[in-house]
């Protein structure tokens, strides 16, 4: 998949996250989180795993996390990718 337009997914509720995606030449993942100190490494690992699975290699992905569990991160990121990527992919 390739990020070709701006899109977002998720909410700012506790235990959820918001993801903002934008086309970019490089791959850039910004993570803000209420539990950044404890869990940034796990959030990043989960995001990278999903991106790899969908073969996304570029784009600016901004995450505002409110303590979401892994399955919520996967679901929100996949929804965001579907909105941000070209229809045919």
């Amino acid at each position: 998949m390739e990020i070709v337009k701006s899109a977002q997914s998720g909410t700012m509720q506790s235990s959820d996250l918001m993801i903002f995606l934008e086309p970019a030449e490089d791959l850039l993942i910004d993570i803000e989180s209420t539990v950044k100190q404890q869990f940034e490494h796990l959030i990043r690992a989960q995001v990278e795993k999903v991106l790899e699975l969908h073969q996304v290699s570029s784009g600016h992905i901004r995450i505002n996390d409110r303590g979401a569990l892994d399955y919520a991160i996967v679901a929100r990121l996949e929804a965001g990718l579907k909105r941000a990527c070209a229809d045919h992919s």
């Binding site: 506790s14 539990v35 100190q37 404890q38 869990f39 796990l42 303590g67 979401a68 569990l69």
Partner: protein, 512 residues
């Protein structure tokens, strides 16, 4: 630095005071006698009425380096502490210690006066922004966090000497008789202020409802009060008491409450004479509601409810489920109304409620208490002071006091809050020692402290989901992942004093 018996690193001294590391909940013995203050004489015709807080500060002869206190029954509606500090500043006073019974988010208004040097320390715990800034190293202002019982002890023993107590009095007469159950700022019990009235060098009643002599009922009597200051308003009544406190609707919370009620029933304590305390949180109230139904069904007549009192406990009193309510603080309007009209609803001091160094506090008679937690560890130690970002945001309240006193102290908490697991490898801060905690209840299972084999077996017999606490922890970690530990500097910004005055933990500045 020394390590106390829980392995926490404690400085040898703090703010010029030498410290005693915490050892265990019950064996540290007091030395010495009660603190004292000068005798006084008031002759007929002598007036106690003063025109303003400024006159009161001058009349009390407050000087640089002295200590003042207020009580926190007005909670986040309190306007008095801020008003007193502004007057202290206007008079040019500096280096004042605040020994109030608690500090609330509204008191963030004090921050400029800390920065200016008017306030130089807190002999009390803090809720909200002051603790946050202290944790970040942005306020030079040592904080000593105490339990409700520990605060009473510190004043009675003279460890903390209050030079002037400013007591917000919702109803007061010109000679200082006061109560909290009447007037526009009615807050019910004045329990935390009783010790201040007895031990502060000068006692100033501040009221927005001056009534003709005598004000009755009398909660704090004229014999203890030096001056009376009428003011426009003590605060914002809308923020003093909640109109209602409500049961949680969250299914996780309700499941936890159901387990808690089943554990209480299994403990065998739920019989005639049962005594009980909960907080005002949604889960606590749901437990109270479950227990109430069981008491109704089984026609059990309890002895007393205590602590901060909510409308739920008032209903139980009025239904005859409890004979007495011991009330150190009213949590809602129903409790305020009840304390004014119900003969069985008694105002008690924090000393009577929870002080470990008197001839026996009410908590020692408690059967069961329901408590909360921010974090617990596999040794059942509990943190309620700091959040998992390392910031000091909450006062202890009666947590450690009731845990130590009650036969059955139960922690209720969701297993996960915003990805943070409730059971940790290491606590950010230890508030209450695991030795005084009997059961930890989450929606994923119930952990019983090893010292209660019989209860554990009974719970298993009743097919309740009992788990080893390590097992519970691993189960939760498998959902959340293992959190990375926070990093702190060596700089101590606050002490967590156990109820007996020994130091159970120190709060350090976070690394940013």
């Amino acid at each position: 630095m020394v390590r106390n018996s829980l392995g926490r690193s404690i400085p040898e001294s703090f703010n010029g005071q030498r410290l005693t590391p915490y050892q265990d909940p019950f064996s540290y013995s007091p030395q010495g006698t009660h603190a004292s203050r000068a005798l006084r004489r008031f002759n007929p015709g002598q007036s106690k009425l003063l025109g303003s807080l400024r006159e009161a500060i001058e009349a009390a002869d407050l000087r640089d380096g002295m200590c003042i206190a207020t009580h926190h029954h007005l909670r986040n509606g309190d306007a008095l502490l801020g008003a007193v500090v502004r007057e202290l500043d206007a008079l040019g006073l500096r280096d004042i210690t605040i020994a109030s019974s608690s500090i609330h988010p509204v008191h963030a208004e004090l921050i400029p006066y800390i920065q200016k040097g008017v306030i130089s320390g807190f002999e009390c715990g803090v809720n909200g922004q002051i603790g946050e800034l202290a944790s970040k190293g942005e306020l030079n202002c040592p904080i000593v966090v105490r339990t409700h019982g520990g605060r009473a002890r510190s004043i009675i023993s003279g460890q903390v000497q209050v030079d002037a107590a400013f007591i917000a009095a919702p109803t007061c007469d010109c000679y200082g008789n006061m109560n909290g159950s009447q007037g526009p700022s009615a807050c019910g019990s004045l329990g935390y202020a009783h010790t201040d009235a007895l031990y502060a060098k000068k006692v100033i009643a501040v009221t927005d409802n001056l009534v003709p002599y005598p004000a009755t009922p009398i909660s704090i009597p004229q014999t203890l009060v030096d001056f009376v200051v009428p003011v426009e308003s003590l605060g914002d009544p809308g923020k003093i008491v909640s109109t209602t406190t409500r049961i949680t609707r969250d299914p996780v919370g309700l499941q936890i409450a159901k387990y808690a009620a089943q554990v209480i029933e299994a403990s065998g304590l739920l019989q005639d004479g049962f005594s009980f305390q909960t907080g005002s949180g949604g889960i606590s109230l749901a437990v109270a509601d479950q227990v109430r139904r069981k008491m109704q069904q089984q026609k059990i007549k309890g002895s007393f409810g205590c602590g901060g009192i909510t409308g739920y406990f008032v209903d139980m009193l009025e239904e005859g489920l409890f004979q007495t309510l011991f009330d150190v603080q009213c949590f809602d309007l129903n409790a305020v109304e009840s304390i004014a009209k119900n003969a069985g609803h008694l105002e008690i001091s924090a000393d009577m409620y929870a002080n470990p160094f008197n001839a026996g506090a009410v908590v020692n008679q408690l059967d069961c208490v329901i408590l909360g937690a921010t974090e617990v560890d596999v040794n059942f130690n509990v943190n309620v002071n700091t959040e998992s970002n390392g910031l000091l945001l909450h006062n202890t309240g009666g947590h450690s006091d009731t845990a130590a006193g009650a036969k059955l102290s139960i922690i209720t908490a969701p297993s996960i809050r915003g990805r943070l697991p409730i059971v940790r490898d290491e606590l950010t801060t230890v508030t209450t020692p695991g030795e005084t905690i009997d059961v930890i209840i989450t929606e994923r299972g119930i952990a019983v402290n090893d010292q209660h084999r019989e209860l554990k077996n009974e719970l298993l017999r009743r097919k309740l989901p009992v788990k080893e606490i390590q097992q519970l922890q691993e189960e939760i970690y498998s959902v959340t992942g293992r959190p990375r530990p926070l990093e702190f500097t060596d700089e101590v910004v606050a002490l967590i004093e156990y109820r007996d005055g020994t130091i159970i933990d120190a709060v350090r500045k976070i690394k940013t």
